[in-house]
Symmetry: C2
Subunit: 645 residues, 2 copies
């Protein structure tokens, strides 16, 4: 590394600054002595994984100190062997002088082809009148230039023309828009395309359309919007053509905030660090902007032509995206700053599109039922059905909604990160190298598995874990309580360093050259997660006097929902034992809802109505939840009959 | 100067950077070789007078090059003697290497006591219902904190309380306001003062109040606003108490833009330089902020408690204040970007008050009849009178309005800077050392004068020039055409270097040790200025079929109007020869109108109505104006009878 030469090998007494070099990037930071390694990395723009939110709990921010002096806080996640090799936890170690660090390369961020839902398959779930009353309207005007005899000012001249063409009486024009008005009109020789945001315009009402763009010449042939799903793990964007109503293209990537914590709680903890909230906001904006750049490049469009954005995300993601402090979401009684976010300009958030474009976030119900769920209820059609319907979105949290067009009730249960590969020894995200399907032979207990991208396995993702749990249960590798049957005649069951374990892949087969195993502790985490979801479903039904068997259809949303095997999920008791035909996988209902609300003015109002009318059941205040949870800590349940009562 | 030691005396070949030192400030700038001296000064934050807007026409940006090499463009304002002494025009000279400059100290900016209208004298011209329906309302709330059983989000909780207290249904909350909401509510233990902007709130209407402040504890005992008059030359601010309706205090200062040009045309020219518009905007914002700091200090208030601002200024001043390009105001057909400026947040403009405070600029009629005039029509009561009334505001431009409560017609004539001391050899602003009153003896033609602050005279200000012209005319020093009677038996009349002149003050009496004179060329400039104003008045009357004699009252506004002597102004034909009792001096009608609109919601609507209903007469498109102007180029007029026809 060239940069290494800049380091002086002598200690520099009396100097409170230190140089930090990050290998293999060669990035250099100049920091105060006493700075946390993680903060130095953030300053240098080097991404160091920190899934637990810099709490020293996960041990994943391990870096190698190749040169220099640091002070480590003792931590169970760092063994003395690690330490003697020079490893340190970035979130628990401070810099004492000039140092050279080696940052391990991250899990390769590779998209599963299935995440990229083919754009042409995406269709609006409803018939909307977006062609008759488009929210974003482009209009080409040839305006008579001013003269001494007709010296109306530029703004009123433009309004006069719009009144003539559209019958509108007034126009909202922000100061930044106004600043370029006179020059653009003249440079374009009074032939311009206006971009109007009619979202708030009620005919005869008092909220006038908003001028969000003024372009030279006739630019009415393109008019684009963006629907964004900000997941805790992944961000998905749909590029939408307002003229055809079609999704032009989609793109997705990991939410760059993942480096600051894997779940919302870790993100909230991270947001309380100095500059933490701003950093998280910058990361998600950068993720979205990178996706916009990618889409613009692939589709030969100008990002400036994107004139409206609709965003769905859970309550914490929405808060952070808007720069709102999520602190109180985590503290009892779990109160968000708001549930219906205000209109915001893209420029105020730093989105690299038309800076005057409106950004609307889907409304939330509460701290743990967010815009992703209201978006799902919208796009799933649950809010319009006569049939008793259950909508489930399982991720780190399990959110569920029960209802019909007349009423909606919802709750959220903290499933923990197990179904997303967290809290499980060899769990991982659904990325290349993850085992996603497993079968176990009932004869010899040998597994057969499938790996994403067909490479050597590196770990097991959520759908693989559900499969594994179900297969171990039905083949008798584990009992109802999740205990591994140590007496089984297979070398795959044994006592490992971390207690009893089942070996899924031998060292020789794996990417790391180590066995991939599942331990009894892992199994307990998974059982607790499924018990939480099932208990939530039970309590939700009980609360309205219904039985799970009364539910006429079960709609499964969320990216995770796309990959789970309903048969296996029923076997472990994650989903209720109902006829398969009642289950429907809807794909990314959060992104689909954002797309729906982007294109249809009425649906924007509908989703606010959905959020307002949904009753939120707080499980932590519900005694029956603990009972249901305890009885669900077995596979599939303590009492099968009881579960469908 | 310490900084001088940093200059290397050797030329530095191959180096395209140069160090510029400004004496007597000791400020240092590091600039590219080839930079204009004026730009270097701007970079260094050194104010160099440039009244003509850096066009090389006024010669007032003269600086002394004490050391180093510069390249001067030849310019009639710089004599070869000047040049040999080392002088250069900052706007016409580029830097060739390291230089040391001496910047002459500026005219001492000293306020005339009379500008500081005693705050207690200022009273609203109208009875307003501001106590019953205040625009800015503070309200102390004790909000029940959230619980698991009552988990409404923070924003809706606040709205719920406001609905209970004020019956309002919704609230506009900007993203920056929302960002601090949750933390403030909790840190204040749910006991807060809300600041609401009800300006746009129509009971039963659809525009909800705007949340502009949230303060811990009960802060309802103070509630302040600011009325600002941005003049081309001076800025005046009134600190207004919304609780008593009184003006608490006033302050004024020269508009710091004066260093970039004395009149609006020079400012517009300056605005077209690189960063010119931003620089001008920063200067006026700084002027206002300095006055706010002064008022806050004197009155022991927090500037953050200022919750609304009302601004009156001519169209160019308003454009520049808002950062709008004034370019097309100057180019035929003289079109401003807008006449009714949008609501802007104080924070967006950089005003050092509550950043969420609304800033409203008074509406204009056109490019040359601005918010200062509509503000004057408002505060003068012209828009409510039955009597035929003429409102005149004379400065660099003369703006006049004729009308009653039923109709209003207006025009503007370019009087030139003569009445403000510009374009006159020994003219100066109304600052310390200016001759402001003059009498001439009809026996021996000896003058008696009064000087602002009773010091040795340095020049003659506008009111002094009007006096001088009138006295010279009535005593026969000049004839009807403005020619000096060279045959008079007095040494004060003589042929000077610049043609015939009258000596007002001998060298021994003056501050500079040079004679203060008025030349025939100066007199011609003054006559042209008064002719333009008078011709404007005539055309205005003619256009509605009225005679000047029909006018029932003449209201004189503007700071300049306060000091002119009506008798003398009639003698020279600047004002029509009507009975003195018809004339009324109203003081700073522009600031008074801003104050009126700040305190009274109805008056804000009234002034927009005034601007909309005023008919603008474009004099440059009017043939009769040239005729009137030509016949007014005599004193008092060509035909006294005709003038009152």
């Amino acid at each position: 590394m060239q940069e290494e030469k800049t380091v002086t090998k002598e200690a520099r007494p009396g100097n409170s600054k230190a140089i930090v070099i990050f290998k293999p990037f060669g990035t250099v930071a100049n920091v105060e002595v006493g700075t946390l390694l993680l903060d130095a990395a953030q300053l240098a723009g080097v991404e160091v994984n920190s899934p637990c939110g810099a709490q020293g709990r996960c041990g994943r921010c391990k870096v190698l100190v190749e040169y220099g002096e640091v002070a480590r806080r003792s931590n169970p996640k760092l063994s003395s062997a690690d330490e003697s090799q020079g490893y340190a936890l970035a979130c628990q170690t401070v810099i004492k002088g000039d140092v050279v660090l080696v940052v391990p390369t991250k899990e390769e961020i590779q998209r599963r082809p299935a995440i990229e839902t083919a754009a042409e398959k995406i269709a609006l779930p409803f018939v909307c009148d977006w062609r008759r009353e488009p929210a974003i309207q482009k209009l080409y005007l040839e305006i008579p230039p001013p003269s001494l005899a007709d010296n109306t000012n530029d703004l009123d001249r433009l309004k006069r023309e719009l009144a003539k063409r559209l019958g509108i009486k007034d126009l909202v024009v922000s100061l930044p828009m106004l600043r370029g008005l006179s020059r653009t009109l003249r440079e374009a020789d009074w032939r311009v395309t206006v971009v109007l945001d009619m979202r708030n315009w009620l005919p005869g009402g008092s909220i006038p359309p908003r001028l969000i763009g003024l372009l030279p010449d006739d630019e009415t042939s393109t008019n684009l919007g963006l629907a964004v799903d900000i997941g805790t793990t992944s961000v998905v964007v749909y590029l939408v053509d307002f003229i055809t109503g079609k999704v032009v293209d989609t793109a997705s990537a990991y939410n760059a905030q993942v480096s600051c914590g894997e779940d919302v709680i870790s993100r909230i903890i991270y947001s309380q660090r100095r500059d933490g909230l701003n950093h998280l906001q910058r990361l998600v904006i950068k993720t979205i902007n990178d996706l916009i750049t990618e889409l613009a490049g692939h589709n030969h469009i100008h990002a400036d032509d994107i004139n409206e954005v609709s965003v769905a995300g859970n309550t914490t993601m929405t808060h952070v995206f808007l720069g709102l402090d999520p602190k109180y979401i985590r503290e009892e009684p779990y109160i968000p700053t708001m549930t219906v976010p205000p209109r915001v300009s893209a420029g105020d958030l730093g989105l690299a599109i038309n800076p005057n474009a409106s950004v609307y976030c889907m409304p939330a119900v509460g701290s743990y039922v967010g815009g992703d769920i209201t978006s799902g209820v919208l796009s799933s059609g649950l809010f319009q059905t006569d049939r008793l319907t259950l909508f489930i979105d399982v991720g780190t949290n399990g959110e569920m909604v029960l209802g019909t067009k007349d009423w909606l009730i919802t709750c959220a249960c903290s499933a923990g990160p197990a179904f997303e590969g967290g809290g499980v020894r060899h769990g991982m995200r659904a990325a290349a190298g993850a085992i996603e399907d497993i079968w176990i032979s009932p004869q010899n207990y040998e597994p057969t598995y499938r790996v994403i991208n067909n490479i050597s396995p590196a770990g097991i993702c959520g759908s693989g874990l559900i499969d594994l749990l179900a297969e171990m249960f039905v083949t008798g590798v584990i009992d109802k309580a999740g205990k591994i049957r140590r007496e089984l005649p297979t070398p795959r069951v044994r006592m490992g360093d971390h207690g009893p374990e089942y070996i899924v892949a031998w060292a020789a087969e794996t990417a790391s050259g180590n066995n991939i195993v599942i331990t009894e502790a892992d199994i307990n985490n998974l059982i607790r997660a499924k018990a939480a979801v099932y208990a939530g479903l039970s309590v939700l039904c009980n609360s309205v006097g219904a039985k799970l068997a009364d539910v006429e259809q079960i709609l499964i949303g969320g990216a995770f929902g796309q990959y789970i095997n309903v048969e296996k999920a029923i076997q472990i008791g994650l989903l209720p034992d109902l006829p398969w035909e009642k289950f429907h996988y809807l794909g990314n209902t959060s992104a689909l809802g954002a797309y729906t609300a982007l294109l249809c003015k009425d649906m924007r109002a509908a989703v606010v109505d959905i959020a307002r009318k949904m009753t939120y059941l707080e499980l932590s205040a519900d005694n029956s939840f603990m009972n249901e949870y305890t009885s669900a800590l077995f596979m599939p349940h303590t009492n099968l009959e009881a579960s469908l009562r």
